[in-house]
């Protein structure tokens, strides 16, 4: 067999019907482009979400009050709970603990008003949540025990009140009407899937409890962030938290009045959601690829009928069934491969456009063109060409030379 010759011949016969071949290829192009673009954007979204979650640290656990619904007399989490969790003897897998108190507050400075999220924190918060400062220093033990009226500003808050992000240490602001001294500015983090961390202010938890966010139970906290010693220790840490809190709250295991979530839980959830979305959209795109394949089959069938005499002639000159079969298969797979290649380029272009649009609207997605997806598309389109070309090609190869030669 002379493959080069077959290839040239197939291209010639496809070029002879440029319009028809072009439209047939278009079906495949659209299908492949859709599949490629959706997979690339899906992967990109997944990676950017997972990256954000991982950026927070995979050894982080969240303890929140409220657990299974039918717990009688649920107790809130308190500062004492946090202190108990920090005990290295009863909880060896736990590295750091950071209880926080959250609330919305009104701030003002020189007539500028801004509503923002206030987070009451302990000095240990900085290490557990990996908080960096662009200037100033973090809340100290003295600030904490002395209930100091000091505040750390997120960049968005600083921008809103002062119109600048630096040179703010020592400035005085009012929170809910009370004067606070700015001791630092938080490092800019940018937007994230879990809300902007730049639009918040940090104050000592003791200050927040007494002056800003009064709660029913003394020393009540909203969330306790727990840092495990490493990401492998997360399940063990979760177990230790459960045991310590259960005994402190005097409840049985399984009837907790608190919930423990690890970063892994968020990661799993996020990958499940984005994975399902990608498969769902990819499935829809694959249907268009299928339709493109049917287009190829249709055109090949027409082509077989049109070229009946040619097939008869070739058979008379000694072509075997396999020769005719491969001739038509090469044509159909050439159609789908060309479509596949153009489709990959177009799909890539589409995902770049989506990237631009996403970047413009403030949610950066970097489309990930994995080699897998490209190989998959190429193989899939070739397979479609062969699969949908097989029936027409087989039909052509079965023609009787005598009948085919006589065909008008």
């Amino acid at each position: 067999m002379n493959y080069m010759q077959s290839f040239i011949e197939a291209s010639e016969s496809l070029l002879a019907n440029k319009m028809r071949s072009g439209l047939t290829v278009l079906g495949i192009i659209i299908g492949v482009a859709a599949v490629i673009a959706i997979l690339a954007i899906g992967n990109g979204t997944q990676q950017s979400i997972l990256g954000e979650i991982q950026g927070v640290g995979t050894n982080l656990l969240f303890v929140t009050p409220g657990g299974s619904e039918d717990v009688s007399n649920p107790k809130p989490l308190t500062l004492a709970d946090a202190v108990a969790l920090a005990d290295p003897f009863s909880a060896p897998s736990i590295d750091g603990v950071a209880p926080v108190l959250n609330g919305r507050v009104e701030m003002n400075y020189a007539g500028e008003n801004k509503s923002t999220t206030l987070v009451g924190v302990t000095p240990g918060y900085a290490t557990v949540r990996n908080v960096g400062l662009s200037e100033g220093q973090f809340i100290s033990d003295t600030d904490f025990s002395g209930r100091s009226a000091v505040v750390l500003l997120g960049t968005e808050v600083a921008e809103g009140l002062f119109g600048r992000k630096s040179g703010l240490v020592g400035e005085k602001v009012r929170i809910e009407g009370q004067p606070f001294r700015v001791i630092g500015v938080l490092e800019e983090k940018g937007g994230s899937a879990m809300g902007s961390e730049d639009d918040q202010i940090l104050v000592p938890m003791t200050t927040a409890q007494t002056r800003l966010l009064q709660r029913a139970t003394p020393n009540e906290v909203d969330v306790i962030y727990v840092q495990a010693v490493n990401s492998e220790a997360v399940p063990q840490a979760s177990l230790e938290i459960s045991q310590i809190l259960s005994s402190r709250h005097r409840i049985m295991i399984g009837e907790e009045d608190f919930s423990i979530l690890s970063q892994q839980d968020f990661l799993d959830l996020a990958s499940t959601i984005t994975g399902v979305l990608t498969i769902f959209l990819g499935g829809i795109a694959a249907i268009s690829l299928l339709v493109g394949g049917i287009g190829i089959m249709n055109i090949m069938l027409v082509s077989v009928v049109e070229r009946t005499r040619e097939i008869g002639l070739r058979k008379a000159l000694g072509a075997r069934r396999i020769d005719i079969l491969s001739q038509f298969l090469i044509e159909s797979s050439l159609l789908s491969l060309i479509g596949g290649f153009i489709g990959i380029l177009l799909g890539w272009g589409l995902s770049v456009i989506v990237e631009q649009i996403a970047a413009g609207s403030g949610t950066p997605i970097v489309p990930v063109m994995s080699l897998d997806a490209v190989l998959l598309a190429v193989l899939f389109s070739a397979a479609i060409g062969i699969f949908f070309g097989l029936y027409p090609a087989n039909r052509a190869s079965k023609l009787e030379p005598v009948e085919a030669l006589r065909y008008e």
Partner: protein, 226 residues
């Protein structure tokens, strides 16, 4: 081994059209010597097309024996018949049957594509065959750029390029004016003399038949007279 390149004995062919059986050949026997020029004549429906298809290995007889160039071919499978056609039979059709989009050279090369590689370059072989029919300066032309006579010459070059044992020509001059027709007949006869190719011409035209050494008349599926 005998001297006959075509040795067909007692050929029958039955077509079934619905419930009706049509006997196209009824025990026909024909022998043709190596290098002979023979024409087959007969009215339509006489079975001469069926005979030509069988002799050209395009079709199998329902019963009977057929030896082509010493090989028994009556009971071969499709793939084996294809190989026999490729190696031993050249076809010249009334409608030329050239590939319209391919050049003269590619058309002549076509049968070589289906034969095993044979040392010599196909392209050279095809070029020689075209030069042999006097179209050495037309190798790059497509069929629609050639006259009818020239197209038929390309077809003859295609039939001869594999150096076949027999050439079957089905009304080779039927679509040509008389001048081109005469030229084609001359060419065919010259090829017979130069290469010793056995030539079987199926025709209606008594004038064509006159050019041949022997005329086989077919009537109702048997040989009427020779």
């Amino acid at each position: 081994m005998n001297d006959y390149i075509v040795d067909a004995n007692n050929l029958t062919k039955v077509f079934t059209m619905g419930d009706v059986e049509v006997h196209a050949l009824r025990g026909l026997s024909v022998q043709i010597k190596r290098g002979e020029v023979v024409s087959i004549m007969g009215p339509s429906g006489s079975g001469k097309s069926t005979l030509m298809n069988i002799l050209g290995c395009l079709d199998r007889p329902t019963s009977g024996e057929y030896c082509l160039d010493g090989e028994s071919v009556a009971n071969l499978k499709d793939e084996q018949l294809a190989s026999i056609r490729n190696r031993k039979v050249g076809f010249v059709f009334q409608m030329f049957n050239l590939l319209p989009r391919s050049t003269a050279l590619t058309n002549v090369e076509l049968p070589l594509r289906y034969s095993p590689p044979n040392g010599r370059k196909r392209r050279e072989q095809a070029k020689e065959a075209l030069e042999g029919v006097g179209l050495g300066d037309r190798i790059g032309h497509r069929p629609n750029e050639l006259s009818g006579g020239q197209q038929q010459r390309v077809a003859i070059a295609r039939a001869l390029v594999t150096d076949p044992a027999i050439v079957m020509a089905d009304e080779p001059t039927g679509n040509l004016d008389s001048k081109s027709g005469d030229e084609i007949m001359e060419l065919l006869l010259r090829m017979n003399q130069e290469h010793g190719t056995t030539l079987i011409i199926v025709t209606h035209d008594p004038e064509i038949a006159e050019h041949t050494q022997r005329v086989i008349h077919i009537r109702d599926g048997v040989v009427a007279e020779q």
